[in-house]
Symmetry: C2
Subunit: 222 residues, 2 copies
């Protein structure tokens, strides 16, 4: 049995959870607040970041990209990094886009302002940083609109890890009130379809202490 | 023929170049300053980051992780992401460590202070940020000492993409004067061996305009 060390609003852990769900792999959740730098956790991952995945035989997998590649390599059902080498490169380009670019522009600043400042620093969020993150989220949704206009799924004709990486980041940004869906019909239709998947339902019903999502967050029709 | 769009101090392009060198794949260099956001470049990669790799048939590969996975999948010689699934996960964990953690702590701040400020903002570097980057570089070298104490190479018994990712980041940090090798005998021995490899020599002889490396930078015996 796998054990995923994570906290509810970690977008990289959400990507792993969506992959595990789509592939039908069972796992238990272990709550970890990486900012507390717990000794046992830092020993498993000196970078002190979630997700970390362990099994009962002592295997420790660190980093969401490494974990997703491992699971996709070892579990045959529903391959999520598949197709030609060029298609796999396009999947990985988009995973990096959402993991790094979207996270750096949108999810990261929102988590810092709305979660870390509240939980740790006991400070109010900086309104100008929130505004800038929402402005950039809008640009990212434009890009997703463009992709979904040209393709059935994010990377092409099949659902891949790129869709899971995108949904993971967007769901955290949406939880933190950073997404304005107005004028983004393509992105919205793609995300609505995603929200109704069995792999996504458990994530949407979870809550982070102290921080509540907007009303539309959990609704499939939003 | 492949064409790699890059600039001399891009650590992610250096990782790709080391991989191409180790695998014996020919390529030409195309100089690109991503901060200029050239229209044709942003069209190839909306994230406006190097490296981007193109061929003569219209294929465009974006993101260093996607490019390295593509090359390792399609070129059999000297596999660099190989072995068991667990070993491959350890390789990818360390690649992410250097690409993100080392870059965020060390190479990124050094590039901003010593290159971007000089080339674009015409400002002097911030001494306190440089000191902090060097302090963190020292912590990273401690970790590499520890790894090399327990393993022949970064990820285990064979040279892998983890070594190339590490050498790419360290070489840029060293060029920018951010590395103090004193007291890091294991890291130094590993890096000295690396410096003498044919895949590394062309990188070490290149220069970025205006910015000169310290004297020891190119020497195998440093």
């Amino acid at each position: 049995m796998w054990h995923l060390h994570q906290f509810p609003l970690c977008p990289f852990s959400r990507k792993v959870r969506l992959l595990m769900g789509e592939k039908g792999v069972a796992y238990s959740l272990v709550r970890e607040n990486p900012w507390e730098q717990r000794d046992e956790f830092v020993q498993m991952n000196p970078a002190a970041r979630t997700p970390v995945m362990t099994d009962d035989k002592g295997l420790v997998l660190v980093d969401s990209v490494a974990i997703c590649e491992y699971i996709d390599e070892t579990v045959e059902k529903n391959p999520m990094i598949s197709g030609t080498a060029a298609y796999r490169a396009e999947i990985r380009r988009l995973v990096a886009w959402f993991d790094q670019h979207f996270y750096g522009d949108v999810t990261g600043p929102l988590l810092h302002e709305r979660m870390m400042k509240r939980l740790i620093h006991r400070q109010p969020p900086d309104a100008s940083i929130l505004r800038e993150a929402m402005r950039r989220a809008n640009g990212h949704l434009d890009y997703i609109d463009y992709l979904i206009d040209h393709r059935a799924w994010m990377a092409g004709s099949t659902m891949t890890l790129a869709d899971l990486a995108a949904a993971a980041q967007i769901s955290v940004a949406d939880y933190l009130g950073g997404i304005d869906w107005k004028g983004h019909e393509q992105s919205k239709a793609w995300y609505a379809m995603f929200k109704s998947r069995p792999s996504f339902r458990p994530l949407l019903s979870e809550r982070m202490e102290v921080i509540s999502p907007p009303e539309h967050y959990e609704l499939v029709d939003f």
